[in-house]
Symmetry: C2
Subunit: 216 residues, 2 copies
């Protein structure tokens, strides 16, 4: 599958790129700066992690089957407007957490309750949005040998998009869980400030979350 990671030169995007590349997907790194994305793609290819391409964000989205959005919340709406034509009718996985610095360990709900709900508004009903991957430590993702002790909650209103996202989570070596409708993105996104608080309080850098007592 061709996966675009919009914001793919950032920390979180880089870890996802390494794992999906190694799983056999073609990963298109997107950046506002296409040159920077191509350079980073060249590095990942040279490191033997798989097949990578680089492009500016709109071209990365246009060339992919699935688009994964990992940008700071401050750039969220602007980036969505830039890639809107390229994502039309495809699956959009939104990893954005609506953090508002400096209080990043405090839940501060955005106007639309969740970044993923705002994304759905922006791209329209023809493009299913999935909220996922907010809780996985980027440093653990970037090290392919590191086990990641973290489940991945997947929230969406679209069955096909859910199946696609759950399969891609499995390809990361993680357990994906159906977390319900896209409205539940509120829960997923607001858990990240809590994880940041746990990291500060308990001197960790990679607090994760695992769900217990599930039969599956």
């Amino acid at each position: 599958m061709r996966i675009a990671i919009v914001g793919g030169t950032g920390k979180e995007g880089g870890g996802l790129a390494v794992r999906w590349g190694r799983a056999g997907h073609t990963v298109i790194l997107g950046s506002r700066d296409g040159e920077r994305a191509r350079a980073r793609a060249g590095e990942l290819s040279a490191a033997g992690h798989g097949a990578f391409e680089g492009a500016d964000n709109p071209a990365a989205a246009a060339g992919a089957d699935v688009i994964v959005l990992t940008v700071p919340y401050a750039a969220h709406a602007e980036t969505l407007r830039a890639i809107k034509d390229g994502v039309a009718g495809k699956v959009l996985i939104d990893v954005t957490v609506p953090l508002r610095p400096p209080k990043v360990s405090r839940v501060q709900l955005p106007a639309g309750r969740a970044a993923a709900l705002e994304a759905q508004e922006l791209v329209g009903p023809g493009t299913p949005v999935v909220a996922a991957l907010h809780h996985v430590s980027s440093s653990h993702l970037a090290d392919p040998s590191h086990p990641v002790l973290c489940d991945v909650l997947v929230a969406t209103d679209d069955a096909r998009a859910r199946a696609t996202a759950l399969a891609l989570v499995k390809d990361l070596g993680l357990r994906g869980l159906d977390a319900g409708p896209l409205d539940n993105a509120v829960a997923l996104e607001s858990l990240t400030p809590v994880l940041i608080h746990l990291n500060k309080t308990y001197k960790s850098q990679s607090a994760g979350v695992v769900f217990t007592n599930l039969r599956d």
Copy 2:
């Protein structure tokens, strides 16, 4: 310590009562129907779980050091108004999740963003509110021999209330974690519809949540 469980004749309250009673606390079960609360307290005492009393909700709150609120969201504001005088200046632990039936596996934020934030508004700044204990399976709590695979996130703006709540969580046999300011009650409360969805989807009755990669 004297702990009032307001809504203590319900399922969640009953499990908490058993564990705290066995840990040596005096538990005052509160109910709108004081007679019913006294009958239930008599049953728990007779079963050898410890020292229990029963009272109507205002009297239960007035006679306790710490008040734990476990009522359906529909009764939340009304109950808080009834116990307001009795909780003044004490620690109020709010377990309420703002579920709106029938869609209980979907996040539906209340007007005040979180039930615990609404509680803080109602009781005023002199009474610290703690959000906690939303995710623990009541059936596992009620069976003292059952290990509970679930961490307890504790969110509050008050250091003394936080310490009190964390100590009481430990007395339940569970690990309590400082989850940050009371604003983070949004994350704690909205995770419950997700757990309900996981229960439905994965045919469980007691999905829980554990945090990983913490040093403590």
